[in-house]
Symmetry: C2
Subunit: 491 residues, 2 copies
Amino acid sequence: MAKNLTTRAEDYSKWYNELVIKADLAENSGVRGCMVIKPYGFAIWERMQAELDRMFKETGHQNAYFPLFIPKSYFSKEASHVDGFAKECAVVTHYRLKNAEDGSGVVVDEDAKLEEELIVRPTSETIIWDTYRKWVQSYRDLPLLINQWANVVRWEMRTRLFLRTTEFLWQEGHTAHATKKEALEEAEQMMHVYADFAENYMAVPVVKGTKTESERFAGALETYCIEALMQDGKALQAGTSHFLGQNFAKAFDVKFATKEGSQEYVWATSWGVSTRLMGALIMTHSDDNGLVLPPNLAPDQVVIVPIYRNDEQFDAVSEVAKKLMTELRAQGIRVKFDNRDTHKPGWKFNEYELKGVPVRIAIGPKDIEKGTVEIARRDTLQKEFISMEGVVEKVTSLMEEIQNNLFKKAINHRSEHTTEVNSYEEFKDMLKTKGGFLSAHWDGTAETEERIKNETKATIRCIPIDRKEEAGTCIFTGKPSVGRVLFAKAY
Amino acid sequence: MAKNLTTRAEDYSKWYNELVIKADLAENSGVRGCMVIKPYGFAIWERMQAELDRMFKETGHQNAYFPLFIPKSYFSKEASHVDGFAKECAVVTHYRLKNAEDGSGVVVDEDAKLEEELIVRPTSETIIWDTYRKWVQSYRDLPLLINQWANVVRWEMRTRLFLRTTEFLWQEGHTAHATKKEALEEAEQMMHVYADFAENYMAVPVVKGTKTESERFAGALETYCIEALMQDGKALQAGTSHFLGQNFAKAFDVKFATKEGSQEYVWATSWGVSTRLMGALIMTHSDDNGLVLPPNLAPDQVVIVPIYRNDEQFDAVSEVAKKLMTELRAQGIRVKFDNRDTHKPGWKFNEYELKGVPVRIAIGPKDIEKGTVEIARRDTLQKEFISMEGVVEKVTSLMEEIQNNLFKKAINHRSEHTTEVNSYEEFKDMLKTKGGFLSAHWDGTAETEERIKNETKATIRCIPIDRKEEAGTCIFTGKPSVGRVLFAKAY
Ligand SMILES: [Zn+2]
Ligand SMILES: [Zn+2]
């Protein structure tokens, strides 16, 4: 099977689009901007969900489910939120169709017009805080630590599979606290949870930081984020966690009785990651041969391909393969034995390379004679023969080795593409020639940020939480600055 | 904590509504007909999902995700489907809001009217078969065995928590096959999977059967179903699996090349269960004291409540409780230790009774002296003192005992409420006095079915797959019949 994949050097964006389709991850649907997540892509997303869900539960959160629809009036209640979210969204205006009188199909029944339009949730703060009002009376009811896995819709004019789609899948955490301190700690904690997940499961290094005021979530007083760097030198925001202050509590009148008996507004956070993570995963590790998956998230970590010319050989090879499969599974490794007789080994090799399976094992009659198997790593494309007795141990250690290698490669790439720049000339030069993260001094004003963005398309990705204090001067205005921020062009 | 729960005898329907609210399972939201599934209710649903998902995967299915929205024109493509589904549904007509000129809030932007309206999926056959056309070329691409977990919307005028809501959560399997035989086997298999799940996890006995033509899913040639009987003698359809023939393949032009090279239409099935199962679970087992949960689905299978008067006693009791918790967890039992000092033991006892936790363990200073604990079963409300050494064994065996006891009780209730009737007089009498399943001869015509329904509100729930052949005469028309069918009033 020839892959015919555009290379990254030729056209990075085309390479990505082709890869998503050819590796059977997702495709566009008949509905503008909405994708179909195919079984292979969804299996990766399911693994992401399972790990994140476990991490959320380990930090004390519970899942719940809130309505898909939000009454239009809810959006008007929180002033800054309405500007951010109540704009490009799907509006339900009617609740019935009827047969067209001319027999041409179905038409909207104008008699079934809703009194108040319903918005398909772009995010659920409003409907959830409308609910929390009923759940919170006393300090004893706090904190509320709730998450929901859901689909959301934001009408997008230009869409790309996983990266920006009209409908996408995500989780949204919404917590309520008695104190500002607790809410801030929660928001910060979830940034760390996201970073742990990105680095240890996705093998994607991320910078933890806070957003500038103009890049914050609509309604947030502070937005924590994790920022990743793709192979083309563009940044990708991989997760955000917001400290919402008392804005939503005030908008939806959520108060609680303190221990001392006074009435106070509740403090809020919200945090989310979405199927956009799939885009980050694909773009961080994959190469011109196709997808490269970290073992911790690969639906199949190992695939065994039998080599044979006749039934007798197939039987002999199958016996060895099945025994090996059993042994590997006993070690908790996800193994697939591809015994389809509809495709040749070479076709299968290509297929699993394209699909990023971390380890491929080939077993043929000669291997059985010699007591060996051939093991191929997807990340380095290296192959070697291993004696049968050593296979389980080898594969087990490869799982960790490949996971670590991918992370190290990504870290190295990011280091190479993170540059301290000290003048606006240098900034523009680097942005053009090398891209990546540009660490630069900024005067802290939204105006400067906006002007740099307009002139270069680079935005402030974050103010890193671990940045060192360093006096300097803004690259754009020359005004004083207390530390560097990270600029980049971004997805 | 006084429960103030209406009894089943007083008002069954009111009892159900109160129980759902008081046991913290779900509540109505600010959006008409849409519910909020609260963390405790959602935790039960998550357990249902986990078991079903495992069963689907064990039978070879994979998960995927298809768009929330369906273009209106898709509904017109399958003639019988349009009448069944393209009617009471949420219609998206616009994709933007804007600030009202008078500053009163946000209004629909009339400039952002969709060319073709989008329907929020009431079920996904149309969008999925539109996709399958691209996935199926040859017999090698078949079967497609795909499931999706999703939210769906059907506009309902009268809603009840879990039983009938405008938005609900479900799974929908959609499979494509090369032959009629294979598709029929798949549809039948999934009915058995659903029945296994209902009986072995929910402890809800079900009758497996097929629907009469008039009760079939819109677009199906055969609908398999499982039917349960609630405590009030009304039936509840707990799951359906449809053999769709080639209807959707023809509507969406999905053909495949056979091994021999000819082009044929693909054969289809679809099958689903929803959050309605929560209603079935609640109504089958619960009593006037609250929820009763089968151990296999209870989020907490055991709760340990400490009894103490001072800190010293609390410390001593906690030590014992924690040790016991560790031992029980090592057996795979889900245990919660409720050490909140904000509520008294009596309040907690009531709370866990209301929430249906299968086993409650109380430990006090006297127990420590005597080396015992008090164990209370939720299903029988029996309490007994058990020596500390025997607790783990006792609780482990109670898990199975309670699960079996609930199933047996439900089986007995169903037997008592299943009656063979041989005349229309008897039929109407029984329906009024005893309710339940009425097993009766029917002449096989839609007309008779319709007339009985209009006169009595009883419908044919199913033609049981294991019914014995028995010549008889229709209770309504006296015409010949080859076997009995099950009638009941239904949810
Ligand atoms: Zn590079
Ligand atoms: Zn009864």
